[in-house]
Symmetry: none
Subunit: 223 residues, 2 copies
Amino acid sequence: MKLLIVDDEPTIVETVEAKFRREGFTTFTADSAEEGMRLFKRVKPDLIILDIMLPQRSGYDFCRAVRKDSATPILFISARADEADRVKGLEMGADDYVVKPFNLSELVARVKAILRRATGEPVRELVERGDLKLDPRSHEAWLGDKPLTLSPKEYALLYFLARNAGQVFSRETLLDRVWGKDAFVNARTVDVHIRWLRTRIEVDANTPERLMTVRGVGYKFVG
Amino acid sequence: MKLLIVDDEPTIVETVEAKFRREGFTTFTADSAEEGMRLFKRVKPDLIILDIMLPQRSGYDFCRAVRKDSATPILFISARADEADRVKGLEMGADDYVVKPFNLSELVARVKAILRRATGEPVRELVERGDLKLDPRSHEAWLGDKPLTLSPKEYALLYFLARNAGQVFSRETLLDRVWGKDAFVNARTVDVHIRWLRTRIEVDANTPERLMTVRGVGYKFVG
DNA sequence: TGCAACCTTCACATCTCCTTAACGAAGGAG
DNA sequence: CTCCTTCGTTAAGGAGATGTGAAGGTTGCA
């Protein structure tokens, strides 16, 4: 993944660049909007980390220019913490907004979150569907006030289906999104996990009311 | 108010010094622990801003030396954001701990806060979860009223998990946050430390109730 | 220098969970 | 009604994750 860092403070650039290199990113840096623009056109980065406060042209201008002919994700860094700036940044098409001083791990997490989002991967957030609750942070699940015990795969599958409730997914899609792209697994494996999930969250596993089969297509979560 | 800044990166020293001069402080700077020690004895500063990563003697040594015969407030600057360093720093008698890259205004605010506290109360982020108590400042831990003996790593790990109770962390994240970013350590090492912690804080180390394993994900502290 | 505490790693034991296969049941088309 | 496809269901085997004890090495301290 290619990362373009545009900031005029060398300390920040160095620290951020080092961190992302360690994380396996390829990094390019610029200390001005002009330089940044040149690099942007040349390297076509997957994401831009952009300081709003730049010498001449402000980060806003830069953002606008990038947005004109690209949807490259942009993450704003700013010393200002007020809501007006945040709103302005996000309005302008920024994908996230981090206030200085920030934690490096936090920054990495956010960048990864944006890239995940861009590639369709889900963001980790609490999912609540009826009396079913899933918290990916603690990796806990409840049915009403009763805690559920789920295996890792069960959890991942249920989380995905509940998060995209109402939508039908084929077994192949589920394998792709839940198991991962490099998983070479028999599609029928999904059936088994669905079965197990039904025994856990359905009143009667034989007459499902949440995890529904769509014959010839796949499965969906309703609620 | 006299301020001693000890850091070997000229960029940082200059920026920080300029900022504090504008704020009305009298500043002295040193780019090594030796130089810093000489200045410290001569000018008797009211507060020391100290980079942990110094050429020869580390900032820790410097801090220890200062603490031997003075209670001069010390604020640590570090590129590392991990919990172990933070704990180590505070335990060593630092009054605060700022991670690079930092915001200048933030730094000023923290310095002022320390000076306002005068000779008074230290920054202690006491963590209390049920009958478990952790005081990073004194590096003491209690289980109920029984004092715990923990090794530095054990302490840092438990402190981090307890402070972020309820949240699951992967071994990799724990290595990153507790061990530090430049630690190239086998992920399974975490298991061993968890094991040791369990023998200390769990009633039965084989059936943990606080330090829980989340299979396929990592560990979390509950309570 | 020697000791002691501690950290890391390795090897092996244990256990959970995933995958697969097999067969039965249900749905749909002709 | 019958055949073919799709789905449900169960159990077994194995892969992979975690638990656990011990050895080796490092660091700090006396």
